[in-house]
């Protein structure tokens, strides 16, 4: 009785919405940037930005916040993509914190994230005087994201004030900024994690191998499997990594990214696994785990 809706039709609509947002951002802001974090969402963002301006090149640079603790494979993938696509890639780092020897092991996840990600992002945006930063955040990621706007206003100092967020009507965006305000723009707001995967499959988008299952050296810490990606990982006395077939649902700093045991080494298996798994994506992220509203607290500080 009810007409069946093909998944592709849903993706078409999400794609058109995202392209509309890309174009609006490119045209309305003085100096926008695409925040590229190398993961699957960023890969989709990049793909959409190429589609949005075709046949012209992407009219804005791409910025990566490099904490120096990303998986090595991610950095290789980033540099290859930048070269293949001819991207104007900028890299932002908190050099001061790096010099002081801040690590996720020594400073705790909250302080580490604040210094290496939030502060680095703020400094990067300030240094290049970007007035809008496109990112891959989605509303289904976390409860407090459900209220996030597509055009998320940041006050001076990159502060996110829930009371200052602008009402969004139709496709019409208020892209005006008062002095020292800036905008974060989220074209994937209405996408789900499964949409991302289905779209990667449909559009044949390149993503890092870390998403696919492979034997990797891991140790178990407090019920979470962590990959020993380089010699900086401090093993406890007598602790040895073991090779397990694992993959990652989200990619970030390797000491903070929990792996899941899996044999899905291709997209079809991976999507099948996704559809049966019911855990939220962020359950594997160690940085969100501190209290129900920790994302909200981080955003108030200027986090993505």
């Amino acid at each position: 009785m009810h007409q069946t809706v093909p998944y592709s039709a849903v993706l078409d609509e999400l794609e058109a919405e995202a392209i509309h947002i890309f174009r609006e951002t490119a045209a309305a802001f003085r100096n926008p940037v695409l925040l590229y974090s190398i993961g699957k969402d960023s890969s989709v963002l990049l793909h959409l930005s190429i589609k949005a301006f075709y046949p012209a090149p992407v009219p804005f640079p791409v910025m990566h916040i490099d904490t120096t603790w990303k998986f090595r494979e991610m950095i290789e993938f980033r540099d290859k993509r930048a070269q293949d696509l001819g991207l104007d890639l900028r890299i932002a780092q908190n050099l001061e914190a790096i010099a002081e020897g801040v690590t996720p092991f020594s400073h705790g996840t909250h302080e580490y994230t604040r210094l290496m990600k939030t502060v680095a992002l703020r400094e990067g945006i300030d240094r290049y005087q970007f007035d809008a930063a496109l990112g891959g955040a989605r509303r289904d990621e976390e409860r407090s994201r459900a209220k996030e706007r597509i055009y998320s206003l940041r006050e001076p100092g990159h502060r996110w004030d829930p009371r200052k967020q602008r009402p969004e009507f139709w496709r019409t965006a208020n892209t005006q900024l008062a002095p020292e305000q800036s905008m974060r723009v989220f074209p994937l707001s209405n996408w789900t994690e499964l949409d991302i995967w289905r779209y990667i499959q449909r559009e044949n988008i390149e993503i890092p191998d870390l998403y696919f299952a492979k034997k990797r050296p891991v140790v178990e810490r407090g019920g979470t499997l962590l990959m020993v990606d380089d010699e900086r990982f401090p093993l406890d006395q007598g602790e040895v990594s073991e090779m397990k077939s694992v993959r990652f649902r989200t990619l970030g700093c390797y000491p903070l990214s929990g792996a899941v045991e899996s044999t899905a080494d291709n997209l079809v298996d991976l999507i099948a696994e996704m559809e049966t798994s019911k855990l939220s994506e962020r359950s594997g992220r160690l940085i969100d785990g501190e209290g129900g509203g920790s994302m909200e607290a981080k955003k108030a500080e200027g986090y993505f």
Binding site: M1, H2, Q3, T4, V5, P6, Y7, V10, D12, E13, L14, E15, A16, E17, I19, H20, R23, E24, A26, A27, I50, K51, A52, F53, Y54, P55, A56, P57, R139, D140, R143, S144, R145, A146, K147, P162, K164, Q165, R166, P167, E168, F169, W170, R171, T172, N174, Q176, A178, Q181, S189, N190, T192, K278, L279, S280, S283, G292, G293, E296, A297
Partner: protein, 611 residues
């Protein structure tokens, strides 16, 4: 829009007390849209005041987002969620809070809505906020309203209770012109009629809530609705490529079709519909494409490519939802954003404020936060806007404060007040001064304003008799007489009154040009309307006369029996009774309706001869 709808935009309205959080939480859980760790959280965590036993799902924890509101236990903003229906359709939910001070959030949520689910607590019945939600949904153009009559388990699943609620809701919906309204009796707590039909209510023959959402299709639109394509971005690429990137917000287009640049009136044909996946043979509603044209025309970001009638104008009658904390400021310049275009604009006139519960229109001078009202705006340069009812994207706009950059209002264009800019007035050599010379006296417009029964027509009549005897050519434009002919299409709402005044002012100007002394005897209750009339004339040509008679004396005289009708409740828009009268601030002459008629007429004649 035709065929299936892959993504349905749903707005949910109702308050926590109506069981809204429970309803949405259940929809999410039963469509498998909640990750298990979040579900686990909702089973184990409890906040103050929760009566749900630990171990069961507290649905409200799934839907409340921000820490601040979790602490307060209220929803303070619009939250967006999604669910997947069994037939593959995606439902994007915009969840809006029920508290009355959040009319603006409700308007945001409804602005993209195809369907609204409006919760009514069966035990408590229809409440003022039910009318408010219906009004805002209708105003923002939501096509279908599904009334979920909730907590049916508390009223023994009574058919009568359900019908009673629906009867009341339908009456309001009919007044608002809602296209489609359905009712579903549900219990969010027991799950009755949410995902599947319940055995508890065999009298209900319709679909479950999820069934209705899966089956929904848009109400048939005009088959050949005009094509609308606001240009967002000019794409320039190698090989002299020049394309116009944007989203089709109405209609469709094919290569070879003729389109007009609505701003300039230039015509061109579509050459290609470019996408990175290859050229298309047709671009339909909702598609983001890049168009190229068969020859070069001047197009900038914000222009609209269109087929069918769409002309620029610089004055519009609009409905406005005021969002800003500061009230609307008359005459202040705001930035108007329509599609991808922005242009300075001023609110020139506030017509009325809408009582969103009763539907009554109240005369108003300002709009405060959460108010909805009818206003007139003037843009610094002409722009094309459709009536909102025809197209949300080209009929809706934002007003932005030029200092703080805050969005202070959402506007819905209702009609353009077209200025004839293509017309160039011809300068005739014999002008009104030449005619005055021939007449032997200057031409004037004497505008008598005052309550009905104040004595305007009587005084005009007396003055005209004296002037006529002096050989001065006169004419009287009397309110009632004009309304039987030229203005017989107008009523007595503030909006119609403004149009009535405008037409009479224009006619009086033509008659003034012919060399005559024109008397206008018109209630004309609004100051701004009279100011608009006066602005047609140069200093001294327009004489404003306030016929000041207390309303109780007017009512006692009641020459037309209007006050009696108003007292009986039959004339809601009667000036001085149901509508306000704004007396002139500095009239050229004040005449007391209780004074001697001959003396008043003499004063009037003297004022004209002096002016």
């Amino acid at each position: 829009m035709s065929g299936y709808t892959p993504v349905l935009h749903l707005v949910t309205c109702g308050s926590v007390d109506d069981g809204k959080s429970t309803l949405i939480g259940r929809l999410l859980v039963e469509t498998d849209s909640v990750p298990i760790d979040q579900l686990e959280y909702a089973r184990t965590t409890r906040r103050g005041g929760s009566t749900v036993p630990v171990g069961e799902v507290d649905y409200s924890l799934l839907t409340d987002g921000l820490e601040a509101e979790r602490e307060q236990g209220i929803t303070i903003d619009v939250a967006y969620r999604h669910l997947n229906l069994a037939n593959g359709r995606r439902v994007l939910i915009a969840d809006s809070p029920g508290h009355e001070q959040y009319t603006r959030n409700m308007a945001v949520a409804a602005s993209n809505g195809d369907v609204a689910v409006l919760l009514v607590d069966a035990a408590r019945g229809v409440r003022p906020q039910t009318h408010r939600h219906l009004t805002v949904c209708a105003l923002m153009g939501v096509q279908t309203i599904i009334v979920a009559v909730n907590k049916m388990d508390l009223v023994d699943f009574s058919h009568e209770v359900f019908e009673e609620v629906m009867g009341e809701v339908r009456t309001t919906a009919a007044r608002l012109g809602v296209e489609q309204i359905d009712g579903i009796p549900v219990s969010a707590v027991t799950g009755a009629n949410i995902t599947t039909k319940s055995d508890d209510m065999p009298w209900y023959k319709g679909e479950s809530l999820l069934g209705a959402l899966a089956a929904w299709e848009p109400v048939g639109r005009v088959a050949n609705e005009g094509f609308r394509f606001p240009v967002q971005f000019i794409v320039r690429a190698q090989g002299n490529f020049r394309g116009y990137a944007g989203t089709v917000v109405a209609g469709s287009v094919r290569p070879g079709d003729e389109v007009m640049v609505a701003d300039s009136g230039s015509i061109a044909r579509i050459d290609r519909i470019v996408t990175s996946d290859g050229d298309l043979q047709e671009a339909k509603y909702g598609q983001a494409v890049t168009l190229t044209l068969d020859h070069e025309v001047d197009i900038t970001r914000g222009d609209i490519l269109a087929s069918g009638s769409l002309q620029p104008a610089d004055r519009f009658g609009v409905d406005m939802v005021w969002l800003g904390e500061e009230p609307l400021a008359h005459g202040r310049s705001y930035l108007l954003i329509s599609g991808s275009r922005s242009v300075p604009a001023t609110v020139t006139n506030v017509r009325h404020r809408l009582d969103v519960v009763s539907g009554h229109e109240h005369a108003a001078r300002v709009l405060n936060m959460n108010d909805i009202g009818r206003v007139e705006i003037a843009t610094d340069r002409p722009i094309p806007m459709d009536p909102y009812g025809q197209c949300r994207d080209t009929g809706g706009f934002l007003l932005v404060d030029r200092v703080t950059a805050d969005t202070v209002a959402a506007g819905l264009s209702r009609h353009a007040m077209r200025r004839a800019f293509n017309l160039v007035p011809h300068d005739y050599e014999v002008d009104h001064q030449a005619r005055s010379a021939l007449m032997g006296h200057p031409a004037r417009v004497v505008w008598l304003t005052g309550l009905s029964g104040s004595g305007k027509s009587t005084m005009a009549d007396a003055a005209v008799r004296k002037l006529h005897a002096m050989g001065i050519h006169t004419y009287v434009l009397d309110g009632d007489n004009v309304r039987t002919g030229l203005n017989k299409d107008l009523g007595f709402t503030p909006e119609d009154r403004a149009e009535n005044v405008r037409r009479v002012a224009e006619v009086s100007k033509l008659m003034r040009d012919s060399g005559v002394v024109v008397f206008v005897a018109l209630v004309s209750p609004y100051r701004s309307d009279r100011e608009t009339a006066a602005s047609l004339f140069i200093e001294g040509e327009f004489v404003e006369v306030f016929v000041d008679t207390p309303v109780d004396i007017c009512a006692e005289r009641d020459p037309k029996g209007l006050y009696a009708k108003a007292a009986a409740g039959n004339l809601p828009n009667m000036t001085g009774v149901g509508q306000i009268y704004e007396p002139p601030v500095s009239p050229d002459l004040i005449l007391r309706g209780t004074g001697d008629l001959e003396a008043s007429a003499d004063l009037l004649v003297a004022a004209i001869l002096e002016a």
